[in-house]
């Protein structure tokens, strides 16, 4: 017989503002290899069909089931109950719009931020559907793929102290996203263009180096390493009038493609 797990789950439906936010307790017997996703489904199927939470892929790919697990943001489908104590407290991810209980709308936030950082390839080339795909160096393709692994679950944003205090801060995920275009040779933007997008306190300079984004990322993306590279680029860009060229080139340290 497995452990008896006690779940303290945040309950609030914005569509019913007359009912106060509250914590509701559920108990469940732990089964082998149980994930939080399985546990929540069991609770919903057997105890409370009104419980709201998001899920889709069940494999850490869609990023839908992000929530705050015992104070730490993470994916429900990635989190095994055996790694948690008997009492498990669940809250919705902060920063994002609450839809109900554990369900939040990360989509609007990511769309807004994507717009702010112009998260698409900027090229002057006219698209030719008949032309062969352009070749790319394998190492560079892998680098871009590494940055593209973000599933936009929002855990890094929820764990970021800056994002919690300053709602305009674009977060590590957006800077990581922009780094992907920064190294992409198909994108014609130069350092000055990227600087214009993120070179302020809502962008890369807003980061206080708290590192929680890195620590909670379910995909183990080295978000802060990217942030560091982009910050260096933006800083060098911000002071390029007062720094000699040979130092500037050494400091940028991200890539030679668009130096």
């Amino acid at each position: 017989m497995g452990r008896e797990l006690t779940f303290e789950i945040f309950r609030y439906n914005p569509a019913q503002p007359d009912i106060e936010p509250r914590m509701q307790t559920y108990t469940l017997e732990e089964t082998p290899s149980m994930t939080l996703f399985i546990a929540l489904n069991k609770i919903r199927e057997e105890q409370d069909p009104t419980l709201q939470f998001d899920f889709c892929c069940r494999a850490g790919i869609c990023g839908s089931c992000g929530m705050v697990i015992n104070g730490v943001p993470g994916l429900a489908c990635h989190t095994q109950t055996k790694d948690l104590p008997d009492k498990i407290t669940l809250h919705p991810l902060p920063v994002f719009k609450l839809l109900g209980d554990l369900s939040v709308d990360t989509g609007v936030w990511f769309r807004n931020v994507g717009g702010k950082i112009e998260s698409w390839i900027h090229t002057k080339k006219k698209f030719d559907p008949e032309a062969q795909e352009e070749r790319m160096d394998n190492a560079l393709a892998n680098q871009i793929f590494e940055l593209d692994r973000c599933v936009e679950c929002g855990c890094c944003v929820a764990a970021c102290g800056t994002a919690r205090m300053r709602e305009d801060f674009i977060g590590a995920t957006a800077i990581n996203r922009l780094a992907r275009f920064y190294i992409d040779p198909r994108d014609n933007r130069d350092a000055a263009d990227f600087y214009d997008l993120i070179g302020d306190d809502n962008g890369v300079f807003g980061c206080m180096g708290l590192l929680a984004c890195d620590n909670v990322c379910p995909k183990q993306i080295p978000l802060h390493d990217q942030l560091g590279i982009m910050r260096r680029m933006a800083t060098v860009e911000s002071v390029k009038a007062i720094i000699p060229d040979f130092i500037r080139k050494k400091l940028t340290g991200c890539k030679s493609v668009k130096a």
Partner: protein
């Protein structure tokens, strides 16, 4: 090259924050080592103090460092949780997350405020009783300054150590792969400086 607009000039603040912070960190490290020379012998410290006064380094550096501290604080304060509700949000967030790096930021904010005021008292105490000698320091400590230094010294070391680590992380100089090693180096470094500072205080106390 296009001239920068005022908004763009504002974004240089991050550079100046890191630059002034790095300069102050180097100063603190050098200052503590020179002060720590009293552990070897008060004669050495007196010699260094005398030499610094003769070539006017002490008289020039002290106000410059105070100005640099003010400048650094003024820039860094834009990130501090001074706006309504921010401190509460951050503290609650930090406590729930139980993340050391996040919690250390609160330590940095607290120590920054201590240093801001403490540095003025420290410089006033030292510069108003020239010349720089161990004997004068001994008298000052026995006049009650020992309590001030038991707070000021660890705060300065903590702020310097955490600040240097954070500059390294923020500018990608300390990568994720090497973060644990650097964290250990910084904590060991802070421990060594704290021991040196305590030994120096003890030596001056019993001068």
């Amino acid at each position: 090259m296009n001239p920068r607009t005022p908004a763009e000039i504002r974004s240089r603040l991050d550079f100046w924050q890191a630059f002034s912070g790095a300069l102050l960190a180097v100063f603190v490290c050098c200052h503590l080592i020179l002060e720590g020379s009293v552990v070897i012998s008060p004669v050495v410290t007196d010699f260094i103090g005398d030499w610094m006064e003769k070539i006017y380094v002490a008289q020039i550096v002290a106000p410059v460092i105070l100005a640099l501290i003010l400048f650094h604080f003024w820039i860094a304060a834009r990130k501090m949780p001074f706006r309504k509700g921010e401190l509460t949000i951050f503290t609650q967030h930090s406590m729930a997350l139980k993340d050391v790096d996040t919690a250390l930021w609160i330590v940095q904010v607290f120590t920054a405020i201590v240093i801001l005021f403490g540095a003025f008292f420290h410089v006033y105490g030292v510069m108003s009783q020239m010349p720089l000698t161990v004997e004068k320091s001994h008298i000052r400590l026995h006049e009650g300054w020992i309590l001030f230094y038991t707070v000021f010294l660890p705060c300065t070391i903590l702020h310097t150590g955490i600040g240097m680590y954070r500059i390294g992380v923020k500018y990608g100089l300390i990568s994720k792969a090497r973060r644990k090693i650097w964290r250990a180096i910084i904590w060991i470094g802070m421990g060594c400086y704290l021991i040196l500072g305590c030994c120096a205080l003890t030596r001056v106390w019993f001068y």
